[in-house]
């Protein structure tokens, strides 16, 4: 069974909490990331309707071990626990795929 993280790009607010929570938890030095916040946009797709696309897309790196110690102790990974928008979810891929299907839009799965 492989575990991963599900990201809700509809509601990730780009708050950087995951970056810092992870850096604290894994004692990662400044300038390195276990998870890094990226973004797509903002860009205008319809001037007429004043419509913009702007999505935040956090991405894990090889420094992420999915918080093995925390999970073993019955806790959520640090990034998931602290995420302000509840936009990160941890679990077995199969479960996360089902959740993604249920959500139906604007989400992606990642594994480090």
């Amino acid at each position: 069974m492989i575990n991963g993280l599900l990201v809700d790009t509809q509601y990730c607010t780009g708050c950087y909490t995951c970056e810092i929570a992870c850096r604290n938890e894994k004692e990662i030095p400044a300038g390195q990331w276990g998870i890094k916040l990226n973004q797509v946009g903002p860009f205008c797709v319809s001037e007429e309707e004043d419509k913009f696309i702007w999505n935040y897309t956090p991405m894990v790196t090889e420094l992420c071990d999915l918080c093995a110690d925390r999970v073993a102790a019955g806790q959520k990974p640090a990034c998931v626990h602290h995420c302000l928008a509840d936009a990160l979810e941890y679990g077995p891929l199969s479960e996360l795929v089902a959740k993604m299907e249920a959500k139906g839009e604007r989400a992606y799965l990642m594994i480090p």
Binding site: Y11, C15, Y16, T17, E19, I20, A30, D50, L84, D86
Partner: protein, 743 residues
């Protein structure tokens, strides 16, 4: 929540359950934390999943608490510096005994020379110190002159005044079920249809203690947003309607929305008949604001104004209003019109609507509530309240603009002793024309500062530095909305000791005991906890210790308080206004010399009034990595936003040959400032947005550089004294400027 506030693990690690309120800087959100302490040292910060609102979630600032507390630049012992060394990076460690002696002697000398009114206390914004400021100013200094230096008292004060005058109540906030143990599942709660988010970005600001990400929860439950902001913020991209107005035209937009609601007969007749006063007059006034005209003034398309009016009339809908209501000379009219929108659509104080606070004004003590009091004759000399009584009535402080003039001219009298209580006012935060404040403060005979780090203001003028504890280092209380509309009231629990830092209340009572040994006979600990028990009384706990066992008390929300006699001192139904109703035609505005009905006026600096300028300059938008001028030395946070940024539209940048990352100068008749350009389509053409709060802890601290505080000081471009009729509001969000390329 965990009934035990402190637990010790087998390996000796202590886990302290607590809630946060500054320092480090924040509004009274009171997010729940578990602090892990080993051998007296904070080793880890974890969000407390049992907190009823924040549920374990934390922002980057509390997550960086350890970096802040143990930062090498933090000052954790009392320090003194000779007056002739002001502006020089010199200081000498002293004992608390010596520090209190210096304080008491300087104050006594000042009082003998200039009277009780010859001293003053500056409080900053948002930090808990703004509550404790009353204790410091009225009890310790016995001075009437507490000063929040922001021109026009342009933060929270105007909104407090509006709701007080219009509805006789405390600050309104959108209903997010924060007072219910079951939260959104409480059977009496309803999800709002629409939420009007006016001039604020709650997920970043958490302003006034609203947990900003509650908006995301409500959106997930189906609420739709109507955001009012000149920028296409991230929140606006997810809104049903994004009303991107020209900065400074908020009052016109609110009147346009009222026009739609009234002329299309969308208002709640029953509520208007029973509970509103002056509807006919308001209905007549809104005819001066037809939608097409409002569209022209505000640059918001007419269809969107109409759609907003129609949406908000679908009850329940709610509103969360922000700083841009305050930061405009026309702001109290904007607020008055917004209150009218919520009232006539029947959305006040209903489930899923806009909840009124039961108490008016800002929390914290008044002069009469503190143990030692300001003598009568000094009290009547509070600067500026004769001219602007509204500021005295609502905020109980001096009028900031007139106080600057008083310091500059000694008229009506000289003030020569100042206490900077967590206020870095010469950085671009809470003053207009900070270079004038800088000169005015240099006139002081004595300046004491209570803070956590050295900053440009203290470097410039401080003679005595008293080290303040963070919320992890002292007991305290935190209550959302500063006590004016509190849904959560929590204990802050001391987990660690760092150097000789003391909490703000501890410092106040230590000094009070030193100055009035016969009055303050109890121990500092007893005095502090007695005081905290009083502040936390709204939790329903008997005393502070009981609150500590509870953790976070949810203060139950009562809907329709006006029907139940819960808004008036006499217990009768209705509102605490002269007519007993929501006053759309506002008696108090008239009494204070303003128009009793809302109206719009073009800002003094605007594209048509000052065509010599090309850009509208707006300031103050939030970054999660800092609280105003704080956190600039915390590496993990500074790395995210390393530079003072000016946001600019691509077309404007192209026209001026400016590329991403170029340095530019913002210039107007008042000053200039250096910023790094970020080109982004979220800005309207002709509007630039400058980040506030900048200084550079890594730079030379000595005068005249003062950590580079004048380099990117956008507040130097905001005029002093351009305020509204009753004394509130200044154009921090709608000044004008030109842009030049810089080296």
């Amino acid at each position: 929540m965990d009934a035990e506030w402190k637990k010790t693990l087998e390996d000796g690690t202590e886990i302290v359950r607590t809630c946060a309120w500054s320092p480090p800087g924040c509004h009274p959100v009171g997010c729940g934390l578990k602090l892990h302490v080993k051998d007296g040292k904070l080793i880890k910060v974890e969000g407390d999943p049992e907190h009823p609102v924040t549920k374990g979630r934390l922002c980057v600032r509390c997550l960086s608490l350890k970096d802040y507390i143990y930062h090498e630049d933090r000052i954790i012992y009392p320090m003194k510096r000779a007056k002739e060394d002001r502006g020089l990076d010199k200081r000498e460690r002293i004992s608390w005994e010596e520090a209190m002696d210096i304080f008491a002697e300087a104050l006594k000398a000042n009082q003998e020379k200039y009277g009780y009114e010859g001293s003053c206390l500056f409080n900053g914004t948002g930090r808990a110190a703004c509550i404790h400021a009353a204790l410091g100013c009225y009890s310790v200094l016995q001075s009437p002159n507490q000063c929040y230096a922001l021109s026009g008292w342009s933060c929270y004060g105007p909104r407090c005044a509006v709701v007080n005058f219009v509805a006789g109540a405390g600050i309104p906030e959108m209903d997010y079920a924060a007072g219910f143990p079951l939260r959104y599942d409480d059977p009496s709660f309803q999800v709002p249809n629409y939420i009007l988010v006016w001039g604020k970005e709650p997920p970043k600001s958490n302003s006034d203690g609203l947990f900003g990400h509650a908006l995301i929860e409500l959106m997930r439950l189906g609420a739709k947003l109507i955001t009012v902001d000149p920028r296409m913020t991230w929140l606006a991209t997810r809104s049903h309607l994004a009303l991107r107005l020209r900065p400074g035209t908020d009052a016109a937009l609110a009147m346009g929305i009222l026009n739609v609601i009234i002329n299309e007969d969308l208002y709640d007749h029953d509520f208007v008949d029973k509970w509103c006063y002056g509807f006919e007059q308001l209905a007549e006034r809104v005819q001066e604001y037809p939608v097409e005209k409002v569209a022209e003034i505000t640059e918001v398309p007419a269809e969107k104004i109409i759609e907003a009016g129609r949406a908000l009339a679908q009850s329940p809908s709610s509103m969360t209003w922000g700083l841009s209501v305050d930061e405009a000379p026309n702001g109290v009219q904007t607020g008055q019109a917004l209150m009218a929108i919520m009232a006539i659509t029947g959305n006040l104080d209903i489930p899923g609507g806009t909840i009124l606070g039961p108490v008016a004004g800002l929390g914290g003590a008044e002069e009469k509530d503190v143990p030692t009091q300001v003598p009568e004759d000094a009290l009547s000399k509070k600067v500026g309240v004769d001219k602007y009584p509204a500021v005295g009535m609502i905020q109980n402080t001096v009028h900031p603009d007139l106080f600057l003039e008083c310091l500059e001219t000694d008229d009506p009298y000289p003030v020569r002793f100042a206490w900077l209580q967590s206020s870095n006012l010469i950085s671009p935060t809470c003053s207009a024309q900070p270079s004038r404040w800088h000169k005015a403060l240099q006139k002081m005979d004595f300046v004491v500062a209570t803070d956590t780090f050295m900053n440009p203001t203290i470097m410039a003028v401080g003679d005595l530095f008293l080290p303040v504890a963070t919320f992890a280092e002292g007991d305290g209380v935190v209550f959302t909305h500063f006590g004016s509309n509190t849904t959560n009231c929590s204990a802050i629990n001391k987990a660690i000791t760092v150097g000789e830092a003391k909490s703000d209340p501890e410092i106040c009572f230590m000094l009070a005991k030193r100055i009035f040994p016969d009055i303050y006979t109890a121990s500092v600990d007893e005095l502090v906890h007695g005081y905290l028990s009083g502040l936390g009384a709204m939790s329903g706990a008997q005393n502070w210790y009981e609150l500590r066992d509870i953790g976070t008390a949810q203060v139950p929300v009562t809907y329709k308080k006006y029907e139940k006699g819960l808004l008036r001192a006499d217990g009768k139904p209705g509102f605490s206004t002269p007519t007993g109703r929501v006053e759309l035609w506002t008696t108090m505005y008239r009494n204070l010399g303003d128009d009793p009905l809302p109206y719009y006026f073009e800002p003094k600096m605007s594209p048509s009034n000052t065509p010599e300028y090309e850009f509208i300059l707006t300031t103050g938008s939030r970054r999660v990595t800092s609280f105003h001028s704080e956190h600039r030395q915390i590496k993990n946070l500074r790395d995210i936003h390393p530079n003072p940024v000016l946001e600019m539209n691509p077309a404007d940048a192209k026209k001026h040959g400016i590329e991403e990352g170029d340095w530019v100068r913002i210039v107007n008749e008042h000053g200039s400032a250096r910023y790094k350009v970020e080109i982004t389509p979220i800005l309207k053409k002709g509007v630039v947005n400058a980040a506030h709060g900048w200084w550079f802890p890594e730079e030379d601290p000595n005068e005249p550089n003062l950590y580079g505080v004048w380099k990117s000081n956008v507040n130097n471009m905001i005029p002093h004294g351009d305020i509204g009729k009753i004394g509130f509001g200044a154009p921090f969000k709608s000044a004008m400027c030109n842009i030049e390329k810089a080296e």
